[in-house]
């Protein structure tokens, strides 16, 4: 199965929101534990608070077009997550929403993702290789652009998250640890991969 415009526009948005909120909430303790190791131990709490707030508005968003919904999700995340991840994930969703047409093709999605990831990097003054969520987002965008299946994209995301382990953090709170940040998976990379996996599953089902 490959991803196409049909799949995108057929997506069950409430199901998508539920799936993402579910995975984040289920993994909140794991994300917090990752953040305790090289950060301040709130990433799971932050993401859970944000995506549960999004879920609470899911019904209200149900009828609206995809770009609107994504923008609303982004705004909600900005207003509820806080920390570094709030503005960054918020910017990600807001930007995808801004860039995506109502009935997007795969190429539209790849392009929107590319722009949104640039917006995240601009907001974070960061780039690939600095042990952040970007180290998952860039390869995910590449995989989408290359036409990989949702499941394969999710595998790429998982691998990319795991691959942050040997990196030394240059951005984010973990950078304060210097070399001591080496040997741990970046929490934001892990949460990004979880979101990608959840989205991929829903897309596969709606295909």
């Amino acid at each position: 199965m490959t991803m196409d415009a049909t799949a995108m526009s057929k997506i069950d948005l409430p199901a998508l929101i539920d799936a993402v909120a579910d995975t984040i909430s289920e993994h909140a303790d794991e994300l917090t534990a990752l953040d305790q190791a090289i950060g301040d131990g709130d990433h799971g709490l932050n993401m859970k608070r944000g995506f549960e707030a999004v879920r609470a508005e899911s019904a209200a968003l149900a009828g609206q077009p995809l770009p609107e919904v994504l923008r609303a999700i982004g705004t909600k995340l900005v207003m509820t997550v806080g920390g570094a991840s709030g503005p960054l994930f918020g910017t990600l969703f807001m930007s995808i929403g801004k860039e995506l047409p109502t009935e997007p093709s795969r190429a539209d999605l790849a392009a929107a993702l590319a722009k949104a990831i640039s917006a995240v990097a601009a907001r974070g003054k960061s780039q690939a290789g600095q042990k952040t969520m970007l180290d998952v987002l860039y390869p995910v965008q590449a995989a989408v652009a290359a036409g990989k299946s949702p499941g394969d994209v999710a595998d790429v995301a998982d691998g990319a998250a795991e691959a942050t382990k040997p990196l030394k953090a240059i951005r984010g709170r973990a950078s304060f640890l210097g070399d001591r940040s080496i040997g741990h998976v970046d929490p934001g990379a892990r949460s990004s991969a979880l979101i990608v996996r959840a989205v991929a599953k829903v897309m596969e089902h709606s295909a």
């Binding site: 305790q36 301040d40 900005v78 920390g83 709030g86 984010g172």
Partner: protein, 328 residues
């Protein structure tokens, strides 16, 4: 986790309610617990707004009041507040002369305050980054803002009370920040209520050197040393960072992280004062206490701010907040 709480989700709001009730002569809460603001605003004065994750009390809410902040935005524990908090605070306390945001240099705080600034009018920002434990290079996110932030808020707060304009206050804040260096050491971590366990485990004979204020590990773990040895290492780091600027009058601020008794803080102060004076600084102002905390973390930081006469007199200017009071 041993804490006085009812439920992890309501710790912050219950505590803020108590804080507002206990200090109702000075301050009040904004809607939805989004900010703490001065009860009485001074028309025509630039509004000072700070904020950050909770768990550092009395910073920043305890510094709202005459001579310091007009509003403080409390995030969740150790989590930067969201932009709507600063936007709503700014809308409420800006009496026309503009707003100065005082932001500790953490990417979360910087990004959230940036977003709020982009969506508000007439806002400038001072970003504090006094922590010499963190290398300031292209390969880091820069230094953290730690206890020195209180010094910036006090000095800029006094100047705002005098009627300085937004741009002048921004320049003063940047100047005081540049004249301020801090470094911290922790004997224990701390427990974020929602996380339920300490951020790190540490043996009975170990300490974390170069920690920030979020219960996070520091630059290096070391064997526990006598106080003088610890203070010497911190003072050396601060002094070498100041370089030639280390001379003349200074403010020495020994800050407890929450779990360290004042007996130990004054012992540290005693040691630091001697070591810094030996290096040629004159300690003419002092502050000792747990003002910029990490919940219940045992540990302390040493902050040194070089003073000129103008800055010293702004430090002395009257202040009346929950946590800092003199001259009024």
């Amino acid at each position: 986790m041993k804490k006085f709480i009812n439920a992890v989700d309501t710790v912050l709001t219950e505590s803020l309610d108590g804080f507002a009730a206990a200090h109702s002569d000075i301050l009040m809460l904004g809607g939805g617990h989004k900010f703490i603001r001065r009860k009485t605003l001074k028309p025509g004065k630039v509004a000072l707004i700070s904020g950050g994750g909770s768990g550092h009390e009395p910073l920043h809410g305890g510094l709202v009041g005459h001579g310091m902040l007009d509003a403080a935005c409390p995030g969740q524990v150790f989590t930067s507040p969201t932009p709507d908090q600063m936007m709503e605070a700014a809308a409420e306390v800006n009496t026309g002369a503009g707003c100065l945001f005082i932001v500790k240099n953490y990417e979360g705080d910087v990004m959230n305050f940036d977003m709020a600034a982009e969506m508000s009018e007439d806002v400038m920002q001072v970003v504090t980054n006094d922590d010499v434990a963190v290398e300031d290079s292209l390969y880091t996110t820069g230094r953290r803002g730690v206890a020195g932030t209180l010094v910036v808020e006090k000095i800029v707060g006094a100047a705002a009370e005098e009627g300085l304009a937004l741009k002048e206050l921004k320049e003063l804040g940047d100047k005081v920040n540049r004249a301020t260096r801090s470094m911290g050491v922790a004997l224990t971590s701390c427990t974020v209520p929602a996380a339920g366990k300490p951020n790190f485990e540490i043996a009975d004979d170990e300490m974390e050197f170069g920690v920030g204020i979020h219960g996070e590990p520091g630059r290096r773990r070391a064997k526990l040393q006598p106080a003088d040895a610890i203070v010497e290492e911190i003072c050396a780091a601060i002094a070498s960072d100041f370089g030639a600027a280390l001379k003349g009058d200074a403010l020495l601020f020994v800050n407890g992280f929450g779990g360290t008794p004042s007996m130990e803080l004054y012992l540290i102060y005693n040691s630091a004062r001697k070591m810094l004076e030996k290096r040629g600084v004159r300690i003419v102002r002092s502050l000792v206490g747990s003002y910029v905390t990490s919940l219940d973390m045992a540990g302390c930081s040493i902050t040194l701010t070089m003073l000129d006469d103008r800055v010293a007199s702004l430090w002395d200017a009257p202040v009346h907040t929950a946590a800092l009071r003199w001259g009024l």
